[in-house]
């Protein structure tokens, strides 16, 4: 990693040059919600003026550039009784600007899951290799709990990461590609003063988290509370719409469907993002559903998010961005569910022994 400091005006010229000649996506305001707060999404941008650098958080995450809602896995062409299968792992280079630390963390988790298992996914790899990521730090929203998941800072997974230190950006450069581009612009090595400002900025970010979730020993609590009534309580609220999984930066579960082309000369095998909250997620042929109740499916989502699975060495895959909490139509918030789960057993601690008297 190489650290540089660049003036904001010079950074604007750098991003202009980069965004103009490449397919680029950055945060832009699309609307305001009922409470009057701005809604941002990652949309195509062509110059730094398009990018809302001071945005809060996008409603959808950046995962859709790597895991689109619908992706063709392979294509069949029919010829009389015969068929042929074609697969191409193709991706065009794109630039993603303005990702937050937790968004990049989420990509790192997806890397872990999709590239480090028994069967690395070439579809994902092609997209990940062809993406130039520029991250920018930000002050958290009141309901973010990235700090509790320790995803509020980031050290890998990006090409350049910018920290706002007043007049300048403090750049962490993590790829030779980015370094070569930046050679053409006026940057300087960080002074002692810049380092101080960086530390100060990090301190401010770290101190401005208002939400906190206690995740110590959460995996074992989830195991113990498998039959807890908490799941039924929250499950009864859940509408099974799957919105949480769609906005989640790390939810990657999918279904594979095949369909014939309308001219019947070909067929396409498509992968579609799915959600474990949808009713038929665990249904097998013959109609048996292994998770028939709302609570079962909601529980499963929390299991996957906060306990993790074998593929990523049982790490938590939640990054704490709280997009699911904001998007949920029924008002289910991960913070509340986890706290509820903790309180469930703590409420029966009526008899905690006090600390021993001093001798």
């Amino acid at each position: 990693m190489i650290y540089k400091v660049i003036a904001k005006s010079e950074f604007k010229r750098f991003t202009d040059a980069l965004l103009r000649d490449n397919t680029s996506f950055g945060p832009r305001q699309v609307d305001t919600d009922s409470r009057g707060t701005a809604v941002y999404q990652f949309l195509p941008v062509s110059s730094s003026d398009d990018v809302a650098f001071d945005y809060t958080a996008t409603a959808s995450s950046a995962k859709h550039f790597f895991l689109p809602f619908r992706e063709e896995l392979s294509r069949f062409t029919f010829n009389d009784q015969e068929w042929d299968q074609q697969i191409t792992y193709e991706a065009n280079p794109i630039v993603l600007i303005g990702l937050r630390a937790c968004d990049i963390s989420a990509l790192n988790i997806l890397d872990d899951v999709l590239l480090n298992g028994h069967f690395p996914s070439p579809y994902y790899l092609a997209k990940r290799k062809n993406t130039f990521v520029i991250g920018i730090d930000h002050l958290p929203l009141p309901d973010c709990f990235c700090k509790s998941m320790s995803h509020h800072t980031i050290s890998t997974g990006f090409n350049v990461f910018c920290s706002d230190i007043g007049e300048d950006y403090y750049l962490s450069i993590n790829s030779s590609k980015a370094f070569n581009f930046l050679k053409e612009f006026e940057t300087r090595d960080p002074h002692d003063d810049d380092n101080c400002r960086l530390v100060e900025r990090r301190k401010i970010i770290s101190n401005s988290f208002l939400s906190e979730v206690d995740v110590t020993a959460l995996p074992s609590i989830l195991d113990i509370e498998f039959d807890s009534p908490v799941w039924e309580k929250w499950g009864n609220k859940c509408l099974n719409c799957g919105t949480c999984a769609m906005v989640c930066p790390t939810c990657y579960c999918y279904s594979v469907e095949e369909s014939f082309d309308t001219d019947l000369k070909g067929a396409s095998r498509q992968k579609k993002l799915y959600s474990c909250n949808l009713v038929d997620f665990a249904e097998v042929a013959g109609g048996h559903n292994f998770r028939p109740k709302n609570g079962d499916r909601l529980k499963y989502r929390y299991y996957h998010q906060h306990r993790g699975f074998a593929e990523n060495a049982n790490q938590q895959i939640c990054v704490g961005c709280n997009r699911c909490g904001r998007a949920c139509l029924a008002g289910i918030n991960p913070k509340d569910v986890i706290n509820d789960l903790r309180m469930e057993k703590e409420s029966c601690l009526t008899n905690i022994s006090s600390s021993p008297d001093r001798i």
Binding site: V113, G117, A126, K129
Partner: protein, 305 residues
């Protein structure tokens, strides 16, 4: 200062010389097809019962045929272009390198389409995927194969293995329960197994039909017919989830250690590679860590059976 132009070059991962951060990415693709299927020809179709057919497949490309090897208990994804793919356990012998046999029940969208196929049709297979029965570990012991209904299909591969290495095993019992006698699979092989391979076969049907001379009752009734030496017995159980509970807890009471009982689980699968998460049981994937689990792992997994 003139305008700067930066176009990010495209990295093509289809290239042969591509070296990714995953070292064995290219090599693995040679050994095992995960996205592109092996093209197979359906050489023979046997109607076993009203609902089940036995498909005999042969991989067309001789080189690919040489690569495809599996272990008893593993499954493959059978693909019918345009309809989709389904996980099917392999029910042929793994020493048969020419043909692959799959016992399929007409249950859903893809299998219904498969049932319309005739001999000579082309399908694709991906795999093999999943874990296998530890046949070497079982050697030198008694083996108990317990099947319920269609559960006999995944048991046929280990049964073939036992037949081929009969001298390595002591007593081998097959307990096979079905709802109705007409649902029995592979009846034409019963004599061969009993008389040539000296495997004791016990069958039972829940509801007797006309002409049924065998036993009537639940699968657990068959345990009265045999004596089990819990010290030297391995069990393989396959059937509907209800059966696992009853049979395994019975064997547990007899004193067979939990890590010597193996079950083969069934889940919906879309990828077979531990990516789509459709087959998650507890914190494991049925496709990568399973479908063969020992009973100890199964009781530790929530919602497994």
């Amino acid at each position: 200062m003139p305008d700067k132009h930066f176009v990010i070059p495209r990295q093509d991962i289809n290239r042969e010389d591509f070296t990714s951060s995953i070292p064995d990415f290219n090599r693995r693709a040679e050994i095992m097809k995960t996205d592109m299927g092996y093209k197979c020809i359906v050489t023979n179709i046997v109607q076993l019962t009203k609902q089940e057919k036995l498909f005999k497949l042969r991989i067309i490309d001789p080189q690919e045929r040489g690569i495809f090897r599996f272990k008893p208990g593993q499954f493959l994804m059978l693909e019918l272009p345009g309809y989709g793919d389904v996980p099917i356990s392999i029910s042929s012998s793994n020493s048969n390198h020419e043909f692959i046999e799959l016992c399929i029940r007409k249950a859903g969208h893809v299998t219904s389409a498969l049932f319309t196929l005739g001999e000579g049709a082309h399908v694709a297979i991906r795999g093999p995927f999943g874990s296998a029965f530890p046949m070497d570990e079982m050697a030198g012991n008694n083996v108990l194969l317990i099947a319920g209904g269609l559960g006999f299909a995944p048991l046929r591969a280990p049964l073939f293995w036992i037949n081929e290495h009969r001298e390595r095993f002591l007593n081998v019992h097959v307990l096979y329960g079905v709802k109705e006698p007409s649902q029995q699979l592979f009846t034409y092989q019963f004599d061969e197994w009993e008389k040539i391979s000296h495997i004791t076969l016990h069958t039972i049907a829940e509801h007797a039909e006309e002409g049924w001379i065998g036993k009537t009752g639940m699968i657990t009734d068959l345990f009265n017919d045999i004596t089990i030496d819990p010290e030297h017995t391995y069990a393989i159980v396959c059937g509907p989830p209800v059966m696992f509970k009853i049979v395994c807890s019975y064997l547990d009471k007899l004193g067979i250690p939990m890590n010597r009982m193996f079950v083969s689980l069934e889940r919906r699968m879309h990828c077979g590679m531990g990516k789509c998460c459709r087959c998650m049981v507890g914190s494991t994937f049925t496709c990568v860590d399973g479908p063969v689990f020992d009973y100890w792992s199964v009781i530790n997994l929530k919602e497994a059976i």
